[in-house]
């Protein structure tokens, strides 16, 4: 692993929705293999930051680089760059008219032009990895929320991504299903995949994060290792946030 290799670079990112400033000058570097967990109160801009990284939101100002490619203002390369970034959504966003297997093979086949049999082999490999290969022929609506989210993770992994983005992957799940998804994510983190995770699961942050980023009011307030962040947060707003969520 090349410690100086920058996977994601966000430079002075600003995003406005009308008059609302969602991101107010964010700078962020993520190195290869790093697991970054972004936390913060709702409306702090953490999801917007994640969605700017693969340009689901167009930044108002600033630059985003993925490896050595600039993604902002680079419409022509956008789809190619996106195909190298896996994204997992809060509401899974599986394709309901396709089987689990088709969900995982479709993008491989039409974006990366991989032949069907090969795409299916890749898909089965990743479905096994998330422990759901036996549901390959099912439709998403026949699965539980936790199973659907694991399929969504397999779908993203099948893109052979350089980066995995997780946008509150467990927030829409029933409590008993959160663990099965977090376990999969922990495994991925241990395998050295570059991950940026927006979550409210502090246990996951402690266990898997190389660094925790705390955001509020569209700014990065604090960036620290989980050990430091959870035991001695430097900033007053971090302390207030932690005391609110850890108090009970």
């Amino acid at each position: 692993m090349n410690a100086t290799h920058e996977m994601i670079q966000v430079i002075n990112l600003r995003k406005k929705f009308g008059r609302l400033v969602a991101l107010d000058g964010v700078n962020l570097t993520v190195r290869r293999g790093q697991v970054i967990v972004i936390i913060g109160p709702s409306g702090s801009g953490k999801s917007t930051l994640l969605r700017c990284i693969n340009h689901l939101e167009t930044p108002t100002e600033g630059e985003i680089w993925i490896e050595r490619q600039k993604i902002t203002g680079n419409q022509r390369q956008l789809n190619a760059i996106r195909s190298q970034i896996g994204m997992v959504f809060q509401h899974f966003n599986l394709y309901p008219h396709l089987t689990v297997l088709e969900n995982v093979t479709l993008a491989q086949r039409i974006v990366r032009k991989i032949p069907k049999s090969q795409a299916e082999a890749i898909a089965m490999h990743h479905l096994e990895r998330v422990g759901i290969a036996d549901k390959a022929r099912s439709y998403p609506a026949q699965l539980s929320g936790g199973q659907q989210q694991r399929v969504a993770i397999a779908r993203a992994l099948a893109q052979d991504p350089k980066i995995m983005l997780f946008d509150e992957p467990t927030s829409a799940l029933d409590p008993e299903m959160i663990k099965e998804v977090l376990d999969v994510m922990l495994n991925l983190a241990e395998e050295g995949i570059t991950m940026v995770v927006v979550t409210h699961e502090m246990g996951f942050a402690r266990a898997a994060a190389d660094e925790v980023i705390f955001m509020d009011y569209g700014k990065i307030i604090e960036r620290a290792t989980p050990e430091v962040f959870f035991s001695q947060p430097a900033h007053e707003r971090s302390r207030a946030f932690l005391s609110q969520i850890l108090s009970h």
Partner: protein, 295 residues
């Protein structure tokens, strides 16, 4: 259809001995209207089989069924394509395309269908032919005689009324179906497009593989109802002297003075076609809903 489902469900649950309340409920839920409908068909069949005047009318008028069905089918097919592209245009981010689509839909919606049929047949088609002649002239000037000649030789008077009728029907229904497709596409959650784009698909790949398959399935019942409507509205093309069943019935009535026979036969013929088609639409609707439950 909901009524039928309820009845079926009740029948499965019901024990061999029905209580008075259950029998009353069954009687209340029974689709009596279908009995009335069948009665109309039986009565008409009886008239046709027993009365020579009805038999004559029926044999004469049924010759138009082919034209009615063919006109409807062809116009519907064209309207589907027109509607799909206009519907996509209505939600396009391109301002020009979006406004052109909206203008088309609003123009059509604001004009009565009968007037539109006259307008398209006697103003729209001649103007279109004139435009094609003009384009032919341009091709001729830049030396593309192969394309130019057929365009220049096109004459307004050589466009048959059946073709004009089909153009009129498809242009009109294209606007209605554009709204159906637009609503269908907009009914699919934003997350679907986002997931597809996040995987590196282009906007069109996402439309083609993710959005449209779901949207079209959702609007199948609406599209089916439009087909039934179009079959009925195809009677309007009789004003262009196209020999559909309405026109033929009119001719028959005018010639034989047997108005009752002609128009009873005509009405029942339409009714038979639409009842069968409606049943088909309901069947499709049920299938779609079942798929949703299982999927």
């Amino acid at each position: 259809m909901a009524v039928k489902e309820t009845i079926e469900a009740k029948q499965q649950i019901a024990s061999p001995q029905l209580t008075g309340a259950e029998i009353r409920e069954k009687i209340r839920l029974f689709p009596w209207w279908t009995v009335g409908l069948i009665g109309v068909f039986v009565l008409t069949a009886h008239l046709i089989l027993t009365r020579p005047s009805y038999q004559d009318a029926f044999n004469f008028i049924r010759a138009g069924v082919g034209v009615t069905v063919q006109t409807t089918l062809v116009a519907y097919g064209i309207a589907l394509v027109l509607g799909l592209f206009t519907g996509l245009g209505r939600i396009s981010h391109n301002v020009v395309i979006q406004n052109l689509g909206t203008l088309y839909v609003e123009l059509i919606r604001g004009i009565p269908m009968l007037v539109l049929i006259f307008f398209i047949a006697f103003v729209g088609v001649p103007a279109g032919v004139g435009l094609l002649n003009q384009i032919g002239e341009w091709f001729s000037q830049i030396g593309l005689q192969l394309i130019a000649q057929p365009l220049i030789q096109l004459e307004n008077s050589s466009v048959p009324m059946t073709t004009r009728a089909i153009i009129a029907l498809s242009v009109t229904y294209g606007a209605f179906q554009a709204e159906i497709f637009r609503a269908g596409i907009q009914s699919i959650g934003r997350g679907q497009m986002e997931a597809a784009r996040a995987q590196g698909m282009t906007h069109w790949q996402a439309m083609r593989f993710i959005i449209l398959p779901q949207a079209i399935r959702n609007v199948l019942p609406a599209l089916g109802n439009d087909f039934v409507s179009m079959l009925k509205d195809s009677s309007l093309v009789s004003v262009l002297a196209v020999r559909d069943i309405t026109q033929i019935a009119k001719l028959y009535a005018g010639r034989s003075f047997q108005y009752q026979e002609a128009y009873v036969t005509l009405a029942v013929l339409y009714l038979m076609m639409t009842v069968v088609l409606s049943a088909l639409v309901k069947w499709i609707e049920r299938r779609v809903r079942q798929d949703e439950r299982n999927a």
